[in-house]
C-alpha cells in the first residue's frame, strides 16, 4: 500500500501545477483554491489507503476538484455566475485534452526568460496583477490609467508571453 501511495503521491506532485491552475482558474479566491487543492489530496490519499485502483491520478484528481468546485459554486448563491456547469465541463475537457504536462519545468523556465525580455512597464503590470493580486481597476488607479486600458494591456502582454513561450519551446503558434 505504501508503494501505491508513493506512486500516486509522485503523480499528484508531478501534476500539481496543472491541478492548481484548473482550480484557481475556476475559483479565484486563493485560500479557497488552496483548501480545495488540499481536500483533493486528502481524498486521493484516503482512496489509495482504502485500496481503490487509481490508474489515472491526474484525471481522478481533476474529477474530484471539479465536484468540489461545483459544490462550492452551488453554495455561493451571491456570486455573479452561479454553478455554470457547462463552463466547468468545457474547462475540464480543455485540461483533459491538453498534453500531459510533463513540460511544466521547461515551460516555467521559458516563461521566466520571456518575462525578462518584457519591457519594465509590462513587468510592472504583471507584478501588480499576479504578485500583489490587484484588479485591473486597482492597477489602473495606481498607474493613472483606466481599468479597460489595463485589461487591454494585460491581454497584449499575455498574448506576447504565450508566443514567446511557444517560440522557446519550439512549438508552433497554433498547436503547442
Amino acid at each position: 500500500m505504501t508503494t501505491e501511495l508513493e506512486r500516486v503521491t509522485l503523480e499528484f506532485l508531478r501534476n500539481r501545477h496543472e491541478l492548481m491552475a484548473f482550480i484557481r482558474g475556476l475559483v479565484p479566491d486563493a485560500a479557497l483554491a488552496e483548501d480545495i487543492f488540499q481536500e483533493v489530496w486528502l481524498r486521493l490519499e484516503k482512496a489509495t489507503q482504502e485500496g481503490q485502483d487509481i490508474a489515472e491520478v491526474r484525471n481522478w484528481c481533476r474529477g474530484v476538484a471539479r465536484r468540489l468546485i461545483l459544490h462550492h459554486w452551488r453554495q455561493q448563491r451571491r456570486s455573479k455566475l452561479v454553478a455554470d456547469e457547462e463552463l466547468l465541463d468545457l474547462a475540464d475537457q480543455a485540461f483533459r485534452e491538453s498534453p500531459m504536462d510533463e513540460l511544466t519545468g521547461e515551460r516555467e523556465e521559458a516563461l521566466q526568460r520571456c518575462l525578462e525580455e518584457l519591457p519594465e512597464h509590462a513587468r510592472q503590470i504583471l507584478r501588480l496583477k499576479y504578485q500583489d493580486g490587484k484588479t485591473a481597476a486597482e492597477i489602473g488607479q495606481q498607474l493613472g490609467r483606466t481599468a479597460a486600458a489595463i485589461l487591454m494591456a494585460l491581454s497584449r502582454i499575455r498574448r506576447s508571453l504565450a508566443d514567446c513561450v511557444h517560440r522557446r519551446l519550439g512549438w508552433s503558434q497554433e498547436t503547442p
Partner: protein, 381 residues
C-alpha cells in the same frame, strides 16, 4: 466580439457578465481555444509562482543565471529533467562556484577553524543559492503535503536530520549536498509530520536560521541574496500563519467541554466554542516568534515558536484577566503538559510569564471590544 484573452482576463477578475460568458463558451467549443484556456490558466499559476518568489528587479542577471542553473541541477536529483541537461548545468554551476570561491572564502567559517575535508571546503559558495531554492520547494511541500505521514519512515529522516542539525548548530561546515539535504530533510520531515503546530514551529525555526544566515553573509553577497532570503522568510512565515490558522480553526467545535482547574484533555486540545476573532499572526520578539489567537467565547491560544522550548498557553479570559487552562512545553520529542503557571519548572516559568504579559497588551482591546458587540456562535465557522 471580444478577444479570447480579454474574456479570460475578465473571468479571472470576476467581472465577466452573462454575455461575456456566452462568448467564452462559444470560443471553447473549438479544441484550439480549449487548449489555449488550459495554457492560459497554467501560465497564470506559473506567473503567481514566478513573480511571487523571483524578484527579477533586484537580482543581478548573474545571480538569476546561477539560480536558474541551480534549479536545473536540483531538478535532476528529483529525476524530472533530462539527466544530461542537469549534468551540463551542474558543471556550469561548479565552474561558477570555483570562480566565486575566493570571494566567499571565510564566510562559512568565520572563526578560522580548520576545514577538514575538500568537499566541505566547497560548501560556502553554493550554500545560500541552494538553500533558497530548497526553502522555496520546502514552503510548497509544506503547504501541500503536511498531512502525509507514513510513520515507518519518520525515524530514518529524524536520524539524518539530527546529524545535519548538530553540524549547523556547532557552526561546522556542511558539505554542499548535505546542506541541500538538510532542507530537503526538513521538507520531508514536515511532509511526514502529523502535528501542524510542530510544523509551524519548524518553519519559524528555519526563518530564524535564514535570518542568521543573512547576517553572516559578506556584504557584497548579502546585497545580492538578502531580498531572496527575505522573500523566503516571508513565504515561510505566511505558510506558518496559514497552518496555524487551520490548526486553530480545528479547535473550534459546537460541543462544549467545560474544563475545571487541574483538568486537561489528552492530547492537548482545549475545546473552543465560537469563531476565531483575531490572529494568529506571527510576531517576532526577542524570544522567537509569538502567535496569539482569540476566539469568540473568550478562549485564547498563545504560542512562542521557533526556539527551544516551544511554549503553548491555552486559556480563557475572565473579566480582564487571562485564566490559564493548559501549558505545553515541547523540548524536541519530549512534551510536557501543565495546568498552571506555578506547576511549570522554574527554568521555564519565566517564558510562560512573558507570554502572559504580552497577552493583555496585544489582545485585550480586541477581545473587550468584541465581547461588547457580539455573542458567541454555536456553530462551526
Amino acid at each position: 466580439m471580444r478577444s479570447f484573452e480579454e474574456l479570460l482576463l475578465l473571468w479571472e477578475e470576476g467581472e465577466l457578465d452573462e454575455a461575456g460568458l456566452a462568448e467564452l463558451k462559444a470560443y471553447l467549443q473549438e479544441p484550439g481555444h480549449r487548449q489555449r484556456l488550459a495554457e492560459f490558466w497554467i501560465t497564470s499559476e506559473l506567473l503567481r509562482e514566478l513573480l511571487g518568489t523571483h524578484k527579477a528587479e533586484v537580482l543581478p542577471s548573474s545571480a538569476q543565471q546561477l539560480e536558474t542553473e541551480r534549479k536545473r541541477g536540483f531538478a535532476v536529483i528529483y529525476g524530472n529533467r533530462k539527466t544530461w541537461v542537469g549534468m551540463v548545468v551542474m558543471a556550469l554551476l561548479i565552474g561558477t562556484l570555483v570562480y566565486l570561491g575566493p570571494f566567499l572564502k571565510g564566510w562559512w567559517n568565520p572563526g578560522g577553524a580548520d576545514v577538514p575535508a575538500p568537499q566541505q571546503a566547497q560548501a560556502p559558495a553554493s550554500f545560500p543559492v541552494d538553500k533558497l531554492g530548497i526553502v522555496e520547494d520546502l514552503a510548497d511541500w509544506t503547504t501541500h503535503l503536511c498531512d502525509l505521514a507514513p510513520p515507518e519512515r519518520l525515524e530514518t529522516y529524524r536520524a539524518q536530520e539530527a546529524v545535519y542539525r548538530q553540524r549547523v548548530e556547532q557552526d561546522l561546515p556542511v558539505p554542499v549536498r548535505n546542506i541541500g539535504q538538510l532542507f530537503l530533510d526538513n521538507a520531508q520531515w514536515i511532509a511526514l509530520q502529523e502535528d501542524r503546530e510542530r510544523v509551524v514551529d519548524r518553519l519559524t525555526e528555519l526563518t530564524l536560521q535564514l535570518e542568521r544566515c543573512t547576517q553572516e553573509l559578506p556584504p557584497p553577497l548579502r546585497e545580492v541574496t538578502s531580498p531572496r532570503l527575505q522573500a523566503a522568510q516571508t513565504k515561510l512565515l505566511n505558510t506558518a500563519s496559514l497552518l496555524l490558522y487551520r490548526t486553530d480553526r480545528q479547535l473550534v467545535t459546537a460541543k462544549v467541554v467545560p474544563l475545571k482547574p487541574g483538568q486537561h484533555l489528552s492530547p492537548i486540545r482545549v475545546t473552543v466554542r465560537g469563531t476565531i476573532v483575531a490572529g494568529p499572526k506571527l510576531e517576532k520578539t526577542a524570544e522567537g516568534y509569538l502567535a496569539i489567537t482569540l476566539f469568540s467565547d473568550g478562549s485564547f491560544v498563545a504560542r512562542r515558536l521557533g526556539t527551544t522550548p516551544t511554549v503553548t498557553v491555552m486559556g480563557q479570559w475572565d473579566s480582564s484577566q487571562p485564566i490559564v487552562r493548559q501549558i505545553r512545553l515541547q523540548l524536541g520529542e519530549d512534551e510536557k503538559v501543565y495546568v498552571s503557571t506555578e506547576a511549570v519548572p522554574d527554568e521555564h516559568r519565566q517564558l510562560v510569564e512573558k507570554i502572559l504579559t504580552s497577552l493583555p497588551q496585544r489582545s485585550m482591546r480586541i477581545h473587550v471590544d468584541f465581547r461588547k458587540s457580539t455573542q458567541p456562535s454555536n456553530s462551526k465557522p
